[in-house]
Assembly symmetry: C2
Homo-oligomer: 360 residues x 2
């Protein structure tokens, strides 16, 4: 059993993806987790799944984590503060100023509340999508305010560190501006791009490649959830969209007469400014270590992948990541195998010696 910072018990209210993942992660560290949910069905699934136990009358939790939709977060936090007068309460909603303001407006005891927001998620939802390792290496913002003492707030730090996440401190305003930029505006931009597809000819859509698919992926998100998020963070999002509209106007102008003197330079400067923006994003793995990869051609019949992985096992190399590409109509798949950089040359050689075709 891994040592934990929290003492527990920890009460988790709402057993969707985040709540269940928190429960699984803390139980794995031996902490007593109590789970609660408005849906008895979801609650029983989460309990069976190992996220925690049902509440009991004598519960006296150290920490309560409210994991419910943004529009009911403040209400449930207030209820939990009342019901458990010894507990510190946090929430995981993706906006941070609105719930704090709402709690203050209703006279809640914010000396025991501090909001937080784990930047972790996946496309699936519900208790069965929960994963004990969901938060490992992911940023988790603590939205500091001056109504809670440092000592009281340490339980939130302990929660974040116990779950393997990276603790980030910000004011609620700073948090909301940051997620407007890195999450809410990308959602809007993706939605706008996807809207352009609604009346496009099917022949055009058949030409779509990975670039368009990536651009519109998050546009498939749930409207109800995004009404809540965008509604609660409208001003920071609107500000960035206004700046983006200015950039868009400039781009449209540059395309107005593309053979005019200087038009090409204008377009090049736009694309180059985008290059600069992308380059500012930190590395994918939150650190600079990268894996090396090789692509192996695999016949599209049962048993071929098993043979490949058997032989990788024989070579003694551990797979770090793997992607199988399979083109329609092709008799061949491509397995892109990521390994530690120092292993790639040996693996390539050994696989080639065993008759595998290495594609690149």
């Amino acid at each position: 059993m891994v040592e934990s910072r929290l003492v527990g018990p920890v009460r988790v209210v709402g057993v969707g993806l985040l709540g269940t993942s928190i429960g699984l992660g803390l139980q794995g560290r031996g902490i007593d987790v109590i789970v609660a949910d408005a849906s008895p069905t979801n609650l029983s699934i989460a309990i069976d799944y190992g996220a925690g136990r049902a509440a009991a009358a004598e519960d006296d939790p150290q920490l309560i984590v409210v994991c419910v939709p943004p529009d009911v977060t403040a209400e449930i936090v207030a209820r939990e503060l009342d019901a458990y007068p010894n507990a510190i309460v946090t929430d995981v909603a993706s906006v941070k100023l609105a719930p704090l303001d709402a709690l203050r407006a209703h006279g809640a005891d914010v000396s025991r509340y501090i909001g937080s927001h784990p930047l972790a998620g996946r496309e699936r939802g519900g208790p069965l999508s929960g994963r004990a390792d969901l938060f490992i290496g992911r940023p988790w913002v603590v939205a500091a305010h001056d109504g809670i003492s440092y000592q009281q707030a340490t339980a939130i730090d302990d929660l974040i560190l116990d779950l393997g996440a990276i603790l980030v401190e910000m004011s609620p305003e700073e948090h909301d501006r940051a997620v407007a930029l890195v999450s809410h505006v990308p959602q809007v931009v993706s939605t706008l791009m996807a809207q352009r597809l609604t009346d496009a000819p099917a022949s055009a859509l058949n030409l779509a490649g990975q670039g368009l698919r990536d651009a519109v992926r998050v546009a498939a998100s749930d409207p109800e959830l995004w009404v809540q998020i965008l509604g609660a963070n409208a001003e920071p999002v609107r500000k960035i969209l206004l700046a983006l509209r200015g950039d868009l106007d400039r781009f449209i102008d540059a395309l107005d007469n593309p053979v005019a003197p200087g038009a090409g330079r204008k377009i090049a400067e736009e694309i180059a400014a985008g290059n600069t923006g992308v380059a500012r994003l930190p590395g994918k793995h939150g650190q600079d270590r990268r894996f090396a990869s090789l692509v192996v051609m695999v016949d599209d019949k049962p048993g071929q992948l098993a043979r490949l992985f058997n032989e990788i096992g024989e070579v003694g190399v551990n797979l770090e990541d793997l992607r199988l590409e399979h083109s329609p109509g092709a008799q061949i798949g491509l397995a892109e195998i990521s390994v530690l950089p120092e292993a790639v040359a040996r693996l390539t050689e050994e696989l080639a010696a065993r008759g595998w075709r290495i594609a690149g």
Copy 2:
């Protein structure tokens, strides 16, 4: 040796990613391929790599494929038409009206020219990024015009089918409008999103997740190339950007007063319209058949994946796609296995019976 439709020889001018991939694919079918490039270094790499042989004085190619940057495409096509009076000439530039217009304006013999555009690519460039299977299952547009006879043009169809691509016929105008929507506007939108990151605080960028990364991925593209593409397809791109600006204004208005009556409904309608747009994209595999997937938890040690694939082989189910997820620090990986929908229940049951933990 696979049978080929083309007779050959085929002359490939320009040995970047596309030219080299065409050479490799055709040589694999036993066709005599001649490669040429303005860079002697790239040419010799491509020849060593197996893309074709150097030109000889007596060459009399059946087909010439011009694979050079868009801004010199018309010029090189005209030169090749002159130099090889028996050859049919095509190009692979990502705009199709501009080169045809330029050739006609210069009085070139377009009864032997027909433009084309393979929708295939990868992030790497240069001859060593070439792959014989690059075009398999990818759309390849033939930009039909009335100056070339059906019989002359069959060589282009043969090229496309020999390389395993999917032949798509469009007029040059229709092609340019389609790629404006599915490729050029996504590039501009990605660039605009990325530009917003240039002066953002680093603390905000540290919160970036996959949504933002996907949204800005293509913004890392080469400015020089995009000046050429956007310059040559400015009007169709501009039209779509103007429509997008209208949508953006509407979205900004909806966020102006998010608590006003009806504001929530407006936002929900915007997101829902994006949902509708995304749903119109054909399945990843270019057809509507979808795979079903299950996620299996795999211990992070050599041999575990091999055992999993052995057992999938024993069950007799064919893998259609596969994704291995590996969280940093975690002792467990998740293998997402895509199979035909009718096989997923049986596979889930059989794997569970063999002791595998199915995550969802």
